[in-house]
């Protein structure tokens, strides 16, 4: 295809992505290296329904001239990235010097909000993804072996957790795992502990969130693998049967190799989606126990005072995280692509 033709075909989609994805990223990067000007504070007498008090306010006139001179704010460089709310370089160095075991060091790290969010995000991503792939694969194989009539019905129900909006799915589960909800009761009955509450302890909240993650995403793996199973070459399978391969061996040596590229595809999509996990944390009201990078950004944007620079810095760090996470896949795709075009 000629470059010129390519351009016209590609222009609309490129324009959409440029305007609504690339530009915001640039503006976020700018925001993250600039901070609001140093506030000029003055004492003032403030009155209201409850009487008068002397309080501190921002001197608007003075600030106005400052803002007019430099509308982006004060250049902060990487200061916001390294402060305690983000990478906390000095706190980490301090913890490294003063702690004598790795355990103590990590518990100090766990006290820093960014690392706490990072820890949950990574745990969630790397626990959910393999589990949901395995579950999805097992369900695909099982459903594929069902009778034709039941099959359609099972596919339908298997897809449900994936298609419901994440927020709704999370809410539905959250209502059920309440200590008096049906699942909460079941768990506490099984654990033989009537006061057990899934929402009250950090490990249990993490487990609940991960279970939700597997539940809601396994159907995606299922449907992709199921589609893949329809294309397993029959003759290979039959010849394997002729050679006396057991069922397990058929799966192990014929089906799994055939589906391997799909596993990469599912893993890729799920790593990306799980890395930006947000809705379950909101739905489960889990902020006391688990913050993800996305919910961390959201809470910066939604407080009594917006912290735009802080949110922007976290966003940029998340983008870098995504790039690192995807780098193996990128390298692979590059090889594939070169292999194909030569």
């Amino acid at each position: 295809m000629k470059n010129r033709t390519f351009f016209w075909f590609f222009a609309p989609t490129a324009l959409a992505m440029l305007l609504f994805i690339a530009f915001p990223i640039v503006s976020i990067i700018m925001q993250s290296v600039f901070a609001p000007h140093e506030a000029i504070l003055i004492e003032s007498e403030n009155c209201g329904p409850f009487g008068c008090t002397t309080e501190t306010v921002v001197d608007q006139e003075a600030m106005e001239t400052l803002n007019a001179e430099r509308p982006w704010g004060r250049f902060a460089g990487l200061e916001i990235y390294t402060n305690r709310g983000h990478l906390a370089t000095s706190e980490v160095a301090e913890a490294w010097r003063t702690t004598d075991s790795m355990g103590a060091f990590f518990s100090e790290l766990g006290d820093l909000p960014f690392y706490r969010a990072m820890a949950f995000t990574l745990t969630y991503t790397f626990v959910c993804t393999p589990f949901l792939i395995m579950l999805g694969f097992a369900v695909a194989v099982a459903v594929n072996s069902l009778h034709r009539r039941v099959k359609g019905l099972m596919i339908f129900f298997s897809l449900l957790p994936m298609i419901v909006p994440p927020l709704i799915g999370a809410l539905v589960l959250f209502w059920m795992i309440d200590s008096r909800g049906v699942l909460g009761q079941l768990v506490s009955w099984m654990a033989n502990d009537p006061t057990l509450s899934l929402k009250a302890s950090t490990p249990l909240v993490w487990i609940s969130l991960i279970v939700y993650g597997v539940w809601s995403s396994a159907p995606f793996a299922f449907v992709v693998f199921y589609a893949g199973l329809q294309t397993v070459p029959k003759d290979t399978l039959e010849s394997a049967q002729m050679d006396g391969a057991t069922r397990w061996q058929q799966i192990r040596f014929v089906v799994i190799p055939h589906l391997a590229p799909l596993v990469t595809f599912v893993a890729l999509i799920q790593l990306m989606d799980n890395f930006r996990v947000l809705e379950p944390i909101i739905g489960f009201q889990a902020q006391a126990h688990a913050e993800s990078l996305s919910s961390f950004i959201l809470s910066d944007l939604g407080g009594e005072t917006r912290q735009l620079s802080s949110a922007a810095a976290t966003s940029v760090l998340t983008i870098i995280g995504v790039a690192i996470l995807l780098s193996p896949v990128l390298v692979r795709t590059w090889r594939d692509f070169r292999g194909r075009s030569h």
Binding site: G48, F50, P113, Q287, T305
Partner: protein, 412 residues
């Protein structure tokens, strides 16, 4: 129940007509009105009455209003011509300089607005308040009677009552509280901290001052109370706390005055809860005189980046939104503790009035208080779960606050 529906519908219709009636008197010739604000019933009433002043006036009342009000008023012309705020959230608008002084509009159209409704900052009127709010005691009179106790006036008595109720086997978790991690938890700390005589900042500076004896004692009291709460307390916002009360699972709690009126009117609330429901003033703590609560107002502002005609129209529409004629409606009267002329306190208002009369401290209207609130909300959950000491949690709060305050230019 069907009757109740009809009554509700009637009230809504009535609301509509009063709004219409006010509409004729708005006196707006031209201009644009667009409102952003929180979404609780009293604000819905004000918003509806203001929007009724003219065709094409819009309102956007949402719980996420703080995520959009600054952005929505920064443009020129601003998308929103008015934001409905509280003493905590006006600070963000002041800091960004997006609202205008109202003195000239007050001089021109200020009749019917009480002097005490005017929020004056540095000599200029920046907002017009229409309601007051405070957290105070809500309790089950029947349960306290059963254990032979008077309604508590201090948090220490509250603990004793909780123990008595639990010991008598009436309730397992008799104490309620909006302790959800984040904004709510921080607010409960603010109450307790101020009640203990603490102050959030070193006098006259933006330096944090919470890692003090008062801070530790406040946290310890919160921890002691949480032992009598539902184990999920860190997920309970005021909605969930009220639901517990309605279900008859809690007997004593510190709750917002604005929520008291409707607390037991929902469907399916057991009769003994409806009958036993009672409210009283806020409690003190640690032998202090100042109640462990904060006073709040809600009011409206006018955007800076709009034409004077739009500002005038907005002022008039919002004035109609808080017209004294609204106070003739029984339904509206119970929605809040109104500061509007002609309001006669209903029974649901006694708690807020008691809070104001007992010398409670208004929520600090400082430019950096929001950052402190956020830091408290994020860092105290660890202590409440028993993962770290009170001192450590408060040190974390100060560190988190300091980082945020430096970033926003309040500290260097």
């Amino acid at each position: 129940m069907f009757l109740k529906k009809v009554a509700m519908a009637g009230a809504f219709a009535l609301m509509g007509t009063t709004a219409m009636a006010a509409g004729h008197g708005c006196g707006i010739t031209d201009g644009r009105v667009s409102i952003v604000g929180n979404e609780f019933p009293a604000i819905q009433t004000v918003g509806a009455a203001a929007v009724a002043c003219g065709e094409g006036f819009t309102k956007n009342l949402t719980a996420d209003h703080q995520q959009i009000n600054v952005a929505g008023m920064s443009g020129n012309p601003a998308e929103y011509t008015t934001a409905i705020v509280a003493n905590s959230s006006i600070v963000a608008l002041m800091n960004e300089d997006v609202i205008r002084p109202l003195d000239d509009l007050i001089a021109k159209h200020g009749d019917g607005i009480n002097k005490n409704q005017l929020i004056t900052i540095n000599g200029q009127v920046m907002a017009v308040a229409f309601m007051a709010n405070a957290q105070h005691l809500v309790y089950r009179a029947d349960v306290l009677e059963q254990v032979g106790l008077e309604p508590p006036t201090t948090y220490e008595e509250m603990l004793a009552a909780a123990e008595a109720i639990r010991a008598a086997g009436i309730m397992e978790n008799p104490v309620g509280g909006a302790y959800a991690a984040g904004w709510n938890l921080a607010q409960e700390f603010n109450n307790m901290f101020l009640g203990m005589g603490g102050s959030h900042f070193k006098a006259g500076t933006a330096e944090p001052n919470v890692n003090t004896e008062a801070g530790v004692k406040a946290l310890e009291m919160m921890k002691a109370l949480s032992a009598y709460m539902n184990p999920d307390f860190l997920t309970h916002d005021s909605n969930a706390t009220n639901a517990e009360f309605r279900a008859g699972n809690t007997a004593i709690m510190n709750m917002w005055g604005s929520r008291a009126a409707t607390l037991v009117t929902a469907e399916g609330v057991p009769q003994e809860v409806v009958d036993g429901f009672a409210i009283a003033g806020p409690m003190t703590v640690g032998g202090g005189d100042t109640p462990a609560t904060t006073l709040w107002w809600d009011g409206w502002t006018v955007a800076k980046n709009i034409s004077d005609a739009d500002a005038e129209a907005t002022f008039l529409a919002m004035k109609a939104g808080i017209a004294p004629s609204l106070m003739e409606d029984e339904e509206i009267r119970t929605q809040a503790v109104w500061l509007i002329e002609g309001y006669e306190p209903t029974e649901a208002a006694v708690g807020v009035f008691a809070a104001a009369n007992a010398g409670s401290i208004p929520y600090p209207m400082l430019p950096y208080m929001g950052l402190m609130h956020t830091a408290l909300g994020a860092e105290l959950a660890d202590f409440m779960q028993g993962n770290e000491s009170a001192e450590q949690a408060l040190a974390d709060v100060e560190a988190a606050y300091t980082a945020a305050a430096k970033e926003n230019g309040f500290l260097n």
